[in-house]
């Protein structure tokens, strides 16, 4: 593996403030190479979003270490979470401001970022005037405004219709290739994982942990309908089912 952009070592996360202590993640080890596109795949409760929040610095691991090797981290969520009191331009400018970009550079940067997500005319619009897909494009532009080397995406397209989602897959793949950034993408959709990833990290619940890793060696650009993508997603589905059966059997045996 080339030089890593992210190293997760022995990370465990438990929530002890709830009525019954819950172990959300146990003994997670993961290394992601610079410029790699990795999907975290698993059903709900497997701790994939928890892992992502910890990489983003929004939560601390109970034990273990997360090292982003000094790389700037950006994040997108299932909702675009645009600031509703700001225009599209204002949202991107706030990200530039918070990253310490000098004001003189803002107009050029905003234009470049909106060009990149193919929304050059939307600068003056308000978030509520945009469709769900357009909002996610703006959220992508805003995350890129931070010049992040690692982009975390927490099921960003789960709430979109299939056509919009396909278009955004193309978009993300293009941005990832052009910018050479590392992407860590959380999903419960096997097809999406096979469509996007260099490598799929399969996770399983109770307790949340990594159970398998699959290299997707398919050439790019890919499409959701590709037979090879379908075949890979079939394999991923079997893997998930297998590990869930193993977990269920362990639970029954204990």
């Amino acid at each position: 593996m080339s030089q890593p952009s992210l190293t997760v070592t022995g990370v465990t996360k438990s929530f002890t403030d709830t009525a019954r202590p819950v172990t959300a993640l146990t003994e997670v080890n993961l290394e992601v190479a610079d410029g790699e596109f990795v999907c975290l795949l698993g059903r709900s409760g497997c701790g994939k979003s928890t892992l992502l929040s910890m990489i983003a610095g929004l939560a601390r691991p109970s034990s273990g270490r997360i090292d982003t090797h000094g790389n700037r981290v950006g994040m997108m969520f299932q909702d675009a979470n645009l600031f509703p009191w700001l225009t599209v331009r204002g949202n991107i400018e706030l990200a530039l401001r918070l990253s310490g970009v000098p004001k003189a550079q803002w107009p050029a940067r905003v234009a470049e970022l909106l060009e990149m997500v193919q929304l050059p005319q939307a600068a003056a619009q308000r978030p509520h005037q945009l469709s769900g897909g357009m909002r996610q494009r703006v959220a992508l532009a805003r995350a890129l405004a931070q010049d992040c080397r690692i982009l975390l995406m927490d099921e960003p397209f789960a709430a979109l219709d299939a056509l919009t989602r396909d278009a955004l897959h193309d978009e993300v793949e293009r941005v990832w290739a052009e910018r050479g950034i590392t992407v860590i993408f959380v999903t419960h959709n096997v097809r999406e994982a096979a469509r996007l990833s260099d490598r799929v990290v399969v996770m399983s619940p109770s307790p949340g942990r990594i159970v398998d890793q699959v290299e997707i060696g398919l050439p790019r650009p890919r499409r959701m309908e590709d037979a090879a993508v379908a075949e890979q997603s079939g394999r991923l589905r079997e893997l998930m089912d297998h590990h869930d059966h193993v977990t269920a059997a362990q639970v029954l045996a204990s």
């Binding site: 929004l58 950006g74 990200a95 918070l98 990253s99 357009m134």
Partner: protein
């Protein structure tokens, strides 16, 4: 897609001519006015009370018009409005500072948070005897009570606005690198604005009520005001001028309330929270 949506809205609005839309907004108010004056006129005709106690609407209207030509009325109006603006302005500063402090500090929230709500339930007129003891019969007593009436509403509006900032927005802001004062300035305070404005509106209503109570209780001889005018007309049993003054107090309250509603509406509209487009 957005271009289409925008177009549809513009079309449905231009469907009705401008004068017609203005009429749509005005007629409910006019109807209410006609009903009230009609009922009053009927009561007057029934001779339930003698003329000098319950004058006719026409008489009161004539007095109201008469006010507009006297310098004393404008002086009184000016003094009352100046007090309102100063009191509300102070309440705005104090309430906002309190709101930020309480929402930012756990200790202060425990210590002051519930006291603020308690203060809000206290009828402000009950403060006057105490205020007069401390400050004497003067401006300070009035200002003190006006501020005490309005500041808790303003502070509470800001506090609940800050408490209700959606957690996903906060997470996003943190990922973008906003911390401490920067987080407050660029994310938390703007996000809290709609609730804050609602608090301002409520604070204004309390300020106006406290002010009227104050002007009735704390009579400053050399200084005409709407409250003094009310007292004066009662003492001289001038019912029609008394009611005319009440109409002025009511109208001013409604005008300011409408201004705050307008402000709240425009804040909501930019965020897509407005229902007025339906």
């Amino acid at each position: 897609m957005t271009a289409l949506a925008t177009k549809a809205v513009t079309e449905s609005e231009s469907y009705r001519p401008r004068t017609r839309r203005l009429w749509d907004r005005v007629w409910p108010g006019l109807l209410a006015l006609v009903l009230v004056i009609g009922a009053w006129q009927l009561l007057y005709w029934s001779a339930w009370k003698p003329d000098y106690v319950l004058p006719s609407p026409a008489e009161v209207g004539a007095d109201l018009v008469g006010f507009l030509g006297t310098a004393k009325f404008w002086l009184a109006l000016g003094n009352t409005l100046t007090r309102a603006v100063i009191g509300f302005g102070l309440a705005l500063l104090i309430g906002t500072a309190l709101g930020v402090a309480v929402s930012a500090s756990k200790v202060l929230r425990a210590a002051i948070g519930s006291a603020l709500t308690g203060l809000q339930t206290m009828p402000s007129i009950a403060w006057f005897p105490f205020a007069i003891l401390i400050f004497g019969l003067g401006e300070e007593a009035i200002t003190f009570v006006v501020v005490l009436g309005a500041a808790p509403s303003i502070a509470n509006g800001l506090i609940s606005g800050i408490d209700e900032v959606p957690p996903p927005l906060l997470r996003t802001a943190k990922v973008l690198g906003a911390r401490g004062a920067t987080l407050y300035r660029y994310v938390i305070l703007p996000a809290a604005l709609p609730t804050y404005v609602a608090g301002l509106k409520q604070g204004w209503a309390f300020a106006w009520r406290s002010l009227m109570a104050g002007e009735l209780l704390v009579i400053i001889a050399s200084k005409p005001s709407l409250g003094v005018q009310l007292q004066y007309f009662r003492e001289f049993a001038n019912a029609s001028s008394l009611i005319a003054t009440m109409v002025v107090v009511l109208a001013l309250g409604m005008i300011f309330d409408a201004l705050f509603s307008k402000l709240a509406e425009s804040v909501r509209k930019t965020r897509g929270l407005s229902a007025s487009r339906l």
